[in-house]
């Protein structure tokens, strides 16, 4: 039962993993969603040929419909001839095989047949169609091909990757791709049977050799020989991070900052740079952690949208979670820095880009529950702070909300699960009612 049950039974290791998965989840942008780069062609008014469900004919027949509204991959369609009558409007995923560009029926030898409820509305359907279709937009003829191409993913079963070790968040280990659905990977550790899901562009996974190259801790594998068919996933398949110049003013150990709390993704916490790695990567620890050996430190890139300069929460009216055990409340950064003899990481080192993401409060989407990353759930954007989105899982209490970056590879448009064949978790209340 989603993260609720998981939370109640989770061990510190489990919690640590969930924390890790959550914090590192946000990564790349919507361009990685299938059809993301060509979706701009679609808009209200675009005409398609679609199955005519309002007919007595025994064979499949089609009719022209116009897009009334777009929601994610789904479109509200209205058969031509219904004018302003909304009673027969219907939702349809535009990427399913039943949707075609205008002209497809003729090229396939199938006649267009008007819905029977309006069959007598016009005596000359040809004249009607000429008038309605001339100058209108339709899908490109290769739309179905584009959909197919966009559903091909470069990661294949038995590819080897480096991925965070869910039993020790501060290190990585080798895992094999076991399954790929819609760009999401089910990874199985090379030594063991544990699996977990993440998107192929998740910042959790890297090419073999990444850990050594940046100085990240790594659990060496005792597997001496690769099984037939295994291969290291090519480095170019992974998400790229921005190059950064670490030679000038840069993050240093013990610098303070604010970070989305990996053990509680609903919160942003006081945190510390614990170790500066190469290529712009940082090991971060949440202040007040009960773990003293650093095993819950987690790796962020310096450009990550999940770390913030001290004062970010106060400026943006977000409650900052103070260090566990810190009693001098309300928390004041000035006092805390003085008491801990530390300095705040300079504001200029943080990623301040705010993409024109277009998300608005109240919008629905399909979002990964990063506490249980195999689950993609019905969710709502409830708050927007620059590029940061507050994601609420429909039917669940607010305590399960998550802060997620607008360009996360764990956020998908409505209809993504249907398109990719990934199981969508319905809102909790509906689930209870089946």
């Amino acid at each position: 039962a989603k993260s609720k049950a998981g939370e109640s039974i989770c061990s510190s290791v489990g919690r640590a993993w969930r924390f890790k998965a959550r914090i590192l989840g946000p990564s790349l942008c919507k361009m990685y969603v299938p059809m993301g780069t060509c979706w701009g062609d679609l808009a209200e008014g675009v005409m398609v040929e679609v199955l005519n469900s309002d007919t007595n004919l025994s064979t499949k027949v089609y009719w022209v419909a116009g897009i009334v509204k777009l929601s994610g991959f789904k479109a509200l369609l209205r058969y031509e001839g219904f004018d302003n009558d909304t009673s027969r409007d219907f939702w349809c995923n535009l990427c399913v095989p039943e949707i075609h560009h205008v002209g497809w029926c003729a090229s396939s030898g199938k006649p267009l047949v008007p819905p029977k409820s309006i069959q007598l509305k016009y005596s000359n359907w040809k004249a009607f169609l000429v008038k309605r279709l001339t100058g209108a937009k339709t899908l490109p003829p290769d739309f179905a091909t584009k959909v197919h191409e966009n559903m091909q993913f470069p990661f294949k079963k038995l590819m080897r990757v480096e991925v965070v070790d869910k039993t020790h968040l501060c290190r990585t280990r080798v895992a094999l791709v076991e399954q790929v659905i819609g760009g999401r990977l089910r990874l199985v550790y090379e030594e063991g049977s544990d699996d977990f899901w993440c998107h192929m562009y998740s910042p959790l996974i890297h090419s073999i050799g990444w850990s050594r190259s940046i100085g990240h801790r790594f659990k060496r594998s005792d597997v001496s020989k690769k099984i037939d068919g295994q291969m290291d996933a090519p480095a170019q398949l992974f998400a790229k991070v921005k190059d950064v110049d670490q030679n000038g003013e840069w993050f240093r150990d013990r610098m303070k900052l604010e970070a989305i709390d990996p053990l509680n993704l609903s919160a942003i916490s006081v945190a510390t740079v614990r170790k500066v790695l190469a290529d712009g990567y940082l090991m971060i620890g949440v202040d007040g952690s009960e773990v003293t050996d650093g095993s819950d430190w987690f790796c962020y890139h310096s450009t990550s949208p999940s770390i913030f300069p001290a004062g970010f929460c106060e400026i943006n009216n977000i409650e900052l979670t103070h260090p566990r055990g810190y009693t001098k409340l309300p928390f004041k950064w000035f006092d805390y820095l003085r008491e801990t003899s530390s300095i705040a990481a300079p504001v200029k080192l943080f990623n301040k880009d705010v993409p024109n993401h277009g998300f608005r409060q109240g919008m629905k989407l399909e979002a990964v529950d990063l506490m249980e990353p195999r689950l993609v759930c019905v969710a709502t954007v409830t708050r927007i702070v620059h590029r940061l989105l507050r994601i609420h899982f429909d039917g669940w209490e607010d305590e399960y909300d998550q802060w997620v970056d607008c360009q996360s590879s764990d956020l998908y448009p409505v209809g993504w699960c249907q398109l990719t064949g990934y199981q969508l978790q319905p809102p909790a209340a509906q689930m209870a009612r089946e």
């Binding site: 062609d41 002209g103 003729a106 209108a136």
Partner: protein, 34 residues
């Protein structure tokens, strides 16, 4: 018809087939090649 603002769109002759026969209309479709 007025050309849509995106230059990716181009005019195409589109064939239509109904029970009453075939004819063509001019529509706009986006073109990847541009």
């Amino acid at each position: 018809a007025v050309e849509p603002s995106s230059r990716k769109w181009e005019q195409k002759q589109v064939q239509i087939k109904t029970m009453e026969g075939e004819f063509s209309v001019t529509m706009w479709a986006s073109d990847d090649k541009k």
